[in-house]
Symmetry: C2
């Protein structure tokens, strides 16, 4: 069906196979991967060439010689309960000494000691550093103490992971330098300059990624190999130098506790503090400035610069509004899901590329064999492809590709065929988008969180990393549905109201998280903005713990709008309203009610339609509020096609609009209309053969995972 | 096997049957019941005679003529969301107008209007009473408003319940007077005086109970017939007169919001405020003073005075430390469970009597037929008896009895036999206690709650009313086990430490409740007191959410002691420690791990023994802390004999002591040693035939529910 838009991982020693597969899959680009090299025969085959570069760990000799430039971060010690009037704390106890070294030589003024029983900081004159121990005097027996301290990192985390996982033994441990030190920054620029000269065949430098990895703290105990990992946390951007520069730049002081948060750190799942957001902006400015210099080096050598949106991505922030300042020519995202395809597609850059799964490694992320005898890697491919494709049908992706050891695929001809078919599907979908955008229902959904647009189409990490996070399931459901979706900040809505272009607000997730919003809902201005919007005819969809903070009349601060609240226990003797189930449009067209979640749900008023319940608890409801409509869902699992349809129905009901675009009676089948091409794309997102009925198209028999392009009726 | 200690409900028209059953059951007392009378033939049969008296509703003509003395209470209106600058609220909307009448004639100065969105009170000049509506001006659109107001009650709640349940149509609705009005108080005294004169055959006046019913708000909507019910709440003690007297007596002002608590009211399940506790004490003083006068009337007529510890029991407080001031000769408790028998047995009065179930009514509490053709009421009797008997074996009960329509039992000879057997068992157990107390393990368990001793052996209401309340299940388990049990207040322990006589502390229940303790755990003094106690060798048992308040390092404030905490969501990316299951003494001798409960449990440190888990969550653990031991149980269901044994094992493990008294290998069998009688009571608490093995006694084959008394080996 043609060629292009496909990146193949090349492998020296397998030149003929590389070129045969490049031909079969229509690859126009070849790449290297961790552990593979490209030989001259491959480099000269007339394909574009991607080369991966991770600057902060590329020159280990330089890093070893300049250890004062190594990256640092704050850690909190294990809490110690005082037995007497003195407590001695070993800050690094239970942390990996392969990863961390106590930094007592610079920045001790940023350390803090806390009485975690009272929450109070211990004054500086009541603790001292004694070698690599902290001695606290005047402690109160039975109180718990912790130390926030700076640690230098000796081992770059991705190097560490690959090393430990693959048992690399004596292989060199790579260190990561912090380019906030001018000498390090200049070295990166010079190194890249030299590298570009030395690699004339490279057409695209693929940055993996820039400077700061997501936070990942390792431990020293067998039963706790890792302490903390958060894909969106800026913990690894901290150093005494950066802290001082922050104060110089902003006039504000940011403390260790602003990062440590009593051991919660700055997880993306928690609402950020104002000062942490200013820190993020401060880091972003630095990353963009130096990043742009590096992109400029690449451009001056006539190469393109793409960035990999994982690993050391922190500070890049494709949705900050300033991403274009980098000058990147493309972005590459590792994806398992539809929402990740949408995330990639929406970034303001020229080329949007997906790195699909399975990765061409002997085992997958969970250690299960992928390319071993008896495996069917083509099934894994289809599993992920049918998920990712849901997002690709809604928003244009320019390129797809694979990574890893190509030679592993040689014994799997069915996999080779499946990749060829996938590449063809991708090119067909891409061409439909290039001809004109797909049709959408006249509904804009505003997803409202603490983060807003900055975390567009992401809840931090992959779906399988947060399998119970209902917010992710809402994103994944929406990612393949015909609605415009925007991401709004709670504080923006509080300050400015709901934007006029938004038809339906969606608030989803566990209480207290950045997704549901936590204490932000205590702001009367936010409550009023949303009530006013709904009362004037807007829609509101709440999932799990919308608007939740235990305060005032209950937990859901908009319990009047939703008609539902959750009893946190202190309403135990307040009698709950009984109800009968109603037939509801929410459950039309194969929609499925979700499994119950949490306890204590109850109706707050009469006139609420209950579409589904678990025992005495309403789990799917619709309530009028003024001229608008609120839908409540206790839970959502995007792995269920019926629940994805439930959310689509919720959007329609909350918007007060009937469906206008054709849709299949079977929710496993996604239908996308491309008016400019007069084409309807019918995609079976499931691994089942499906007989689906479509308005105007009759009955269609679809193979598992099949994509069928039909002329518009 | 003898006679005495048994109260039979007599029924005129069934004199011969009454006397035959009195003989069969060894009854020494006959009583009347709601709806039954005693004829002279019964009254003259030589039995003692109990007569039930509920003074506040006995003289309805007087109440009707003195409606300014009717009882009142605060209510909160339904919240109203403002659409504009004025909100009009109908305070009684959705409340029962049969029960409530708006009181606009006295005490409007105690009303309060709140903006529940901000939590602020609306100033008095921004709202006015317009007829029976409250008009609030200057309201903010999108804010929610409520009115706290006084309502007069027109229908005494037990009268209302019987009337509505039995469909009594035009039968007179009884009103309840508030004897805080001196005229009402004097009338009660005079009425009782006259009644005593008119009822010479009565030997015991059974008060049902004194003045103030537990709170019970009825609604006007079919889907919400009741708004609120709490067995221990003092809401019905409020009136303008009482509020003014409180201020006169204490110099303090108590507000409507101190009772309303944003619609939570003063539920016993929530930690009480300091001022509410002072109100309870203020009410208690009044109830004791007038109660003592009434008891004195009874005594002067040569009768005894017993009090029924249900219905209008509020202010009586048998565990206040001042109960003996009433001068009651006995207390009667309606019971379903072992802990209720312990509650009754521990009251400082002469005679402790249990009113057993089934009540002799056609249907039981859930509307299921009890004495209809085809029923086996003897099974119901044994079901409750085997539960209650667990408590009776541990603490002396002087009398048992039944209530209702005796004639209903006539067609059920198996029931008649079962009652005879039960009465014999009761007398045998009572006699063992009279000879000397049963042996206990040398362990005192201190149950630590917000209420402490005031709520000894009760979590407010019956087990079946709070079937999921783990605190109740802990009480029910302990009630039949060989430990000394005390009830401690959290604030007492904070102020004075754990009493030296206590070996094991127990803290159990959902986060935020009066049972677990809620914010009390933020007090460092409390934390220190418990840590010091455990570190010095004490035991700590935490069930469900012990020491829980979301603050500082996590949720369980003593997570260092327990070795366990619960992730409320903001620790989502903090990696949890893995573990392997250990064999544990906790699960010895037929103990059973509980079902999982809640989410997010994790280990806080190394060295915690995990006896049971649900997925990644530890659910039964043991941890050393200093010289002491902490046990955590995620849940507990006292309906499971194996889980009752789990708690017994937890007590032994936490106390660091091996079991010294004989116990059966099968936890369905309770063993009680009466050293003074050289008798071992072996009781099958289950409905199964059990083959149990006992040390020194070998194998015993026990019938369902059997009690066997054996000579001590």
């Amino acid at each position: 069906m043609g060629s292009g838009g496909f990146t193949i991982p090349g492998e020296s020693g397998h030149e003929a196979y590389t070129l045969a597969m490049a031909e079969k899959w229509g690859a126009d680009v070849v790449r290297d991967s961790d552990g593979t090299k490209l030989s001259p025969e491959i480099l000269d085959a007339g394909l574009g060439v991607y080369s991966t570069v991770c600057l902060i760990r590329e020159d280990n000799a330089w890093a070893r010689a300049h250890q004062d430039t190594l990256q640092q971060n704050f850690l909190m010690s294990e809490p110690v309960t005082a037995a007497g009037a003195e407590v001695v704390i070993d800050p690094l106890a239970t942390y990996s000494l392969d990863q961390f070294r106590l930094n007592t030589s610079d920045g001790v003024e940023f350390w803090q000691v806390f009485d975690r029983t009272t929450g109070e900081e211990i004054s500086r004159d009541a603790w001292k550093l004694d070698g690599d121990r902290v001695v606290i005097t005047g402690t109160l027996p039975g109180h718990r103490y912790t130390v926030n301290f700076l640690a230098t990192r000796l081992w770059e985390e991705i190097s560490m992971y690959n090393h430990v996982t693959n048992d690399w033994g004596d292989k060199e441990r790579l260190m990561s330098v912090d380019p906030r030190h001018p000498a390090a920054a200049e070295h990166l620029v010079e190194w890249l300059e030299a590298w570009c000269v030395a690699n004339p065949a490279t057409t695209v430098v693929r940055f993996t990624s820039l400077f700061y990895n997501f936070a990942w703290f390792w431990g020293s105990e067998a039963d706790r190999p890792h302490h903390y990992a958060d894909w969106g946390s800026y913990d690894f951007t901290v150093s005494p130098l950066a802290l001082r520069q922050f104060t110089e730049a902003t006039g504000e002081t940011i403390t260790s506790e602003d990062f440590v948060n009593a051991g919660r750190y700055t997880s993306t799942h928690n609402p950020p503090s104002a000062i942490y957001e200013r820190w993020m902006a401060f880091v972003g400015e630095f990353v963009r400035e130096l990043g742009a210099r590096l992109v400029d080096v690449v451009h001056r050598h006539g190469k393109a610069a793409y960035v990999f949106y994982d690993d050391s991505w922190v500070g890049i922030e494709p949705y900050s509004g300033s991403f274009e300042e980098f000058g990147f020519d493309g972005i590459i995202k590792s994806v398992f899901s539809a929402y990740e395809a949408r995330l990639c597609a929406g970034v303001p850059t020229q080329t949007h590329e997906l790195r699909l799964h399975p990765y061409l490694f002997p085992v997958d992320l969970e250690g299960k064999p992928t390319f071993a005898p008896g495996c069917r890697p083509e099934d894994d491919l289809q599993f992920y492809w049918t998920r990712v494709r849901r997002g690709m049908l809604r928003a244009r992706i320019d390129r797809i590709g694979l990574g890893g050891y190509l030679s592993l695929t040689e014994p799997f001809p069915a996999f080779q065929d499946a990749v060829a078919d996938m590449a063809d599907q991708h090119r067909a979908i891409r061409d439909l988008h290039l001809a004109g955008e797909p049709a959408v229902e006249p509904v804009t959904v505003g997803v409202i969180t603490s983060w807003g647009a900055l975390r567009t189409w992401t809840a931090s990490g992959h779906l399988h990393e947060n399998p119970d996070l209902v917010f992710n399931h809402a994103l994944e459901s929406l990612a393949g549905q015909p609605y415009r979706v925007e991401f709004l900040r709670l504080d923006d809505v509080a300050a400015n109201g709901v934007p006029a272009r938004v038809d339906v607000l969606l608030n989803a997730g566990p209480a207290g998280t950045a997704w549901s919003g936590g204490d932000a809902w205590l702001d009367p201005a936010l409550q009023v903005a949303v009530r006013t919007f709904v009362a004037a005819g807007g829609g509101f969809i709440g999932i799990q713990d919308p608007t939740a903070v235990h305060h005032g009349l209950g937990v859901f601060q908009l319990s009047d709008v939703l008609g539902v609240d959750r009893d946190p226990g202190d309403l135990a003797r307040v009698m709950k309203r009984s109800f009968a189930l109603s037939d509801s449009a929410l459950l039309a067209d194969g929609a499925e009610a979700p499994a119950p979640r949490g306890t204590g749900l109850f109706l707050t008023r009469a006139g609420v339609e209950v579409a589904a319940a678990h025992g005495d608890a309403p789990t799917v409801t619709v309530a009028g509020f003024g001229d608008g409509t609120a839908v409540y869902l206790a839970n959502l699992d995007s792995n269920s096609a019926g629940q994805r349809r439930l959310l689509a129905n919720a959007v329609q009901v909350a918007a007060g609009r009937a469906v206008t675009l054709p849709r299949a009676d079977d929710p496993r089948v996604d239908v996308t209309v491309f008016p400019a091409s007069s084409t309807i794309a019918v995609a079976n997102a499931s691994g089942d053969a499906v007989m689906a009925s479509l308005p105007g198209l009759g009955e269609l028999s679809l193979e598992p995972g099949e994509l069928r392009l039909l002329p518009q009726a």
